[in-house]
Symmetry: C2
Subunit: 225 residues, 2 copies
């Protein structure tokens, strides 16, 4: 495989867990940059997340050789490289399907534009919602999806419809050309191999939190307040 | 440490990644149960998530000895044990703070009650929102939080306020007795060690998805549609 294709210094996709951690390092690098720091270390990069320096070095090694012994990493340089690797050095247009409370909340979510994810079009099947404008974007009917995806060259979509219509709507998004779906419906999606799906299952996150809280209470840590 | 305390068959908290995977196995067990299956295997439990059978066995071994060679796992028995381990064999009352679009969406999120997480009280500082009723729950002012947490014996809270007030509101929740916070604000929280925080950072999930999509496009997988 050509390791220089398209500016990617790596030969094959890194594991999901590595990419997740590298996103965290990038977040921290950006905050160091804002603080005016010019160099950093693998200790410092992993510290806010409880990740050991050996893991940081191993993760970064998936993407190339960075840093110099005794000096560390150049903050500006590493930030730029990681942005390019993660694909956040460019704008990503998004479509959003399903304008319920969650859809409206996502349209306002400030974490997206700050990472250059921009919701360029929103869709809903409800004729009462079509034509409404939220945050400067007008709700279109689902039939307009294909044309919009082609016009904006969109590859990513947010799926915020109820669980019982999630599969059907996902298929319409895929037929329209969407390649990656962030799925908020509490339902698994069955999709072809060329499409990536990340399901945001909030109850799993709450379960994991409940487990930790239960453990800490069982261990007799006193309640505050 | 007493390994039988409080009905937990394990001696110390399992790593977060294990708990996350066990939540997935439990989801799948429940679906097998609905399909009427009485036994299952580690192959079958890991299959929908691409997890190898050796990993499934290792994860379950963190919590005790389950299954019999050549027979497999008893679906009903394993479901009941995992529910108890994860703490989802009982109701968890929740408080929700911040009644914007996201707060309203979470109040309607069907994934929570199906896992026995019940939002018992909602809070907002905006006097125009206080007194409104959504999904049968009336919005209260933040000053009422401490009394409500004590009355419902709530330990978990959903934090859905804007990023710039997240830290301040989190401190009020902790002072009121909350031990675990699911944080939706795109801001890191600084909390004492007896409090667990899980931040739902949607832009990180979108970044990881964008990375996968970019890779698959770079690899020349044709666009559908």
């Amino acid at each position: 495989m050509d390791s220089s294709r398209d500016g990617h210094p790596h030969a094959k996709p890194a594991p999901k867990a590595v990419v997740g951690r590298v996103s965290l390092y990038l977040r921290h690098l950006e905050s160091l940059q804002r603080q005016g720091l010019s160099t950093t270390s693998s200790d410092q990069l992993g510290e806010p997340f409880g990740i050991k320096n050996a893991q940081v070095r191993k993760d970064l090694a998936c993407f190339g050789q960075f840093g110099r012994p005794g000096i560390g990493y150049d903050v500006d340089e590493l930030t730029a490289v990681l942005r390019r690797i993660l694909g956040v050095d460019k704008d990503w247009p998004l479509v959003l399907v399903g304008m319920g409370d969650l859809g409206r909340a996502l349209l306002r979510y400030r974490g997206f534009p700050s990472r250059r994810f921009r919701i360029v079009a929103v869709f809903d099947n409800d004729p009462r919602k079509v034509g409404q404008t939220h945050q400067g974007v007008t709700v279109e009917p689902l039939e307009a999806l294909r044309k919009s995806v082609a016009a904006h060259k969109t590859t990513l979509g947010l799926l915020c419809v109820p669980a019982d219509s999630a599969q059907r709507v996902a298929e319409q998004m895929i037929a329209a050309g969407i390649r990656g779906i962030l799925n908020f419906a509490p339902a698994p999606l069955s999709t072809p191999p060329h499409v990536s799906v990340t399901t945001v299952d909030l109850s799993i996150q709450l379960e994991n939190l409940a487990y930790k809280v239960q453990e800490s209470i069982d261990d007799g840590v006193p309640r505050a307040g």
